[in-house]
């Protein structure tokens, strides 16, 4: 059952990711990404990270991707235009990627005998414990992140404002 659920959502996830690559229209890519995020949230639920799953939906799907859709609408970004670009990406990037992927899979498979399985919901990750860690062990990082967000807000406001002249 759990394996089935994992394969289902994982499949949706992978399909969405591939679809993101295939689609020529930006909006379709964005929707595929939303699908990926939604199915990832479900996989998180499978892993017992319910709080993270919900936050994934609220922040990623509900806020960040809305922002993307908003910008796509604002700029009316339609089909991707075909232009002659650099070949370096094709020459080095993709072979490198394949090489990296193969090596990664190989390493993972190498270590398989030693690994243990992950039980569904093995780790119960309730919101209060996460919050407790966030405000104790990772308090400094939390505060730094708040500064980062503040700066990002200011940067976004400054950038998006029309020039004075």
């Amino acid at each position: 059952m759990h394996l089935f659920l994992f394969l289902l959502f994982g499949g949706i996830c992978a399909g969405g990711a591939v679809n993101l690559l295939i689609q020529r229209k930006t909006i379709n890519s964005a929707l595929s990404l939303i699908v990926v995020m939604g199915s990832l949230a479900l996989i998180y639920l499978l892993l017992g990270a319910e709080f993270v799953a919900v936050v994934q939906v609220i922040i990623y799907a509900g806020a960040i991707m809305v922002l993307y859709i908003f910008v796509i609408m604002l700029l009316n970004a339609g089909e991707e235009e075909q232009a002659k670009g650099s070949n370096v990406a094709k020459i080095f990037g993709i072979p490198g990627l394949f090489a990296g992927g193969i090596i990664g899979i190989w390493v993972l498979l190498q270590h398989r005998p030693a690994e243990q399985g992950v039980k569904i919901g093995a780790l119960y990750g309730p919101a209060d414990q996460v919050g407790w860690m966030l405000f104790n062990k990772y308090l400094l990082a939390f505060e730094v992140t708040s500064i980062l967000v503040l700066i990002a807000i200011m940067g976004a406001v400054v950038l998006a404002r029309r020039g004075n002249n």
Binding site: I27, E50, V54, V57, I58, A61, A63, V66, I69, M73
Partner: protein, 362 residues
Amino acid sequence: MSALTFLIVAVIKIAVTLGVLLTVVAYTVWLERKVVGRMQNRWGPSRVGPFGLLQPLADGIKFLLKEDLTPPYVEKNIYLLAPGLALIMALTSIAMVPIGPVIHLFGITTPVQITGVVDKFGQASDINVGILIVLGITSLGVYGIALAGWSSNSKYSLLGSLRASAQMVSYEVSLGLSLVGVLLMSSTLSLSGIVHAQLGTWFGFIPQWFIFKGQFVAFFIYMMAAFAETNRIPFDLPEAETELVAGYHTEYSAMKFAMFFMAEYANMVTVACIASVMFLGGWSGPPLPFLPLAVQAFLPLLWFSSKIFGFLFLYIWIRGTLPRFRYDQLMAFGWKFLFPLALANVVVTAFFVAFHAQWPGR
């Protein structure tokens, strides 16, 4: 409870809830027309059935029978996807709402809540991040509107959906923050847990609802943000008919239009449910011991529906009273007034919670 029983109970609960919800949605439309009509010194629907009570039925039939137009030059897939998305998101979120307490019916013990179960100790429990899931689903609801407007390939629609997405993202912040106070005081994210935190009374008759426990300001922030979230007057900029014809659903007709319509009213109901759960004690209420026992069994449902009704009436009342905001006023109100106020509410509540450990649930 065997798995089969569980499945049957769940299906029944879903069917009943959906049926009730759709009926409520249909009759909210009737109610709105009727009430606004009276407020504006006219009759409202009165021809179909007594008091026009069959009017929603007639509307439904009309929507079903109308020609389903699909304009040219639309993004077809997304154009078709959008209304469904909007309606599904609107209907799904009701699943988290605890409508009543645990009931014992035909030898089965279950809470009146789709996602709720009874654990082996006989306690009702539900998803422990329920309120967050509601928020998440609500936040996904914006996609229906945004995609509808964009895929229609129409300026009115695009403007409407741009407004809608900006407005909903903005007010979602205040909405979420206004709930934080309640969450701090109840120290749980489970909706049924929140209702349980509000059981009990002061002096035997004043219910210990969070609205009476200091979350008064939060309640009003929530209300205003909720009006904006549901694109209702005075914040109905996305579908402002005088400027944008009908905003994001200008190009939709027949059942697809009806789906947006239903989604909007379903959202209103959901928002009302959340408001009553979070601030008004959900299905709890002052005990009325003088009533017969059979009636008392239905008291929680009665309290809950009356709260929903009151909230819906408020919606309609305000629609009949207030004019529409200007768009910049809307954004300024959301960011410069509601947001700081909600933050202040969180800070003050956190202060009190931290210094008064005797709050219930601590």
